[in-house]
Amino acid sequence: MAGNGNNLPRFVNMGDILIGNGEERFSTVLGSCIAIMMYDSSKKMGAMAHILLPQRRTIGDDNIGKYADVAIPEMIEQLVKKGCAIRKIWAKLAGGAAMFNASSSFLIGEKNLVAAREVLEKKSVPVLATHCGGTKGRRALFYPGSGKIIITINGEPEVEI
């Protein structure tokens, strides 16, 4: 599933940000992490990030795709560089589950979601849909050329958001 072959979606690992269009497909698997998907319908171009935590720990940490507060501005910047207009970009979010309730960090998924929403609001990017929370993992499949997003929870029917 996770490959770069012609028929396979490109896998978006934790901390990755991918930009694409045309017939490309991006996929990822989420627990407490959040997938941020952005799309500009006028350019038919999209971006997907897989963030792990709400805020960057230290300025020196250059793995900016891991953190909501810096990954989102980076996604917007990359899309704008490719010719997208910021006012035409929308976002959809998936993930942020509380995988193990007994864990002291079980709220991190919710914190990720709150942080992502705050940064998107600050950047005036509307959030059109979310598929977040709960206690189960998710698989997200994103078509950056059309904005289509398919979410699957293990054992349940897939849904489009």
């Binding site: 996770a2 934790m14 996929s27 627990g31 407490s32 720990r57 995988m99 007994a102 864990s103 293990n154």
Partner: protein
Amino acid sequence: MSGNHYVINSNSIKQLEIAFKQGATEAGNALTQWIGKPISVHLDSITPVPLGESMNLLGQPDEPVCCCIMHLEGAFRGRLALAFSDESGMALSEMLTGIAGSNEWGELEKSAALESANILGCAFLNAMVQSAASKDIATVLPSPPSFHRDYAMSLLQGLFLEQAMIADRVLFVRTQFFMKGKALVWHLLFIPDTLES
């Protein structure tokens, strides 16, 4: 160890290695008694790896796997997880219950897996506490194991989250299981909560 922060260095890894070798022996003995077949448990690796690489530990990221997880509290916080595929879990259940042909995770199958994880985990922790090299973890308090079946990467994100909050590498201890010389597709992972490089 420094407070709740596990420090990665050659000395701390050596300490874990001693403790877990002892734990593996004890766990093998306990599992042999529980299942009624000779099973040996071997320490496979104690390795700090980049977070991204750790997501392939249990196979393909979107492959559903089962995990029985014990949360550890006390002086040494973290998680102990027994992970296995559906097929391996059902085989374990069949060995314990004598009921063949089951292919769904009902209460009986989950109970067999949880009890196995409990016996295995407690044997490991007892051996670690008794290990001369790990006196400072004598107050480890394990929770009862909980059963989860989900995508491998979703489960691993939950297991490694505490470490990922403060480090780019994660530390885990992995073991292998053998029955009559044949490798079983079970993984016992031990993941300390927090870590400093």
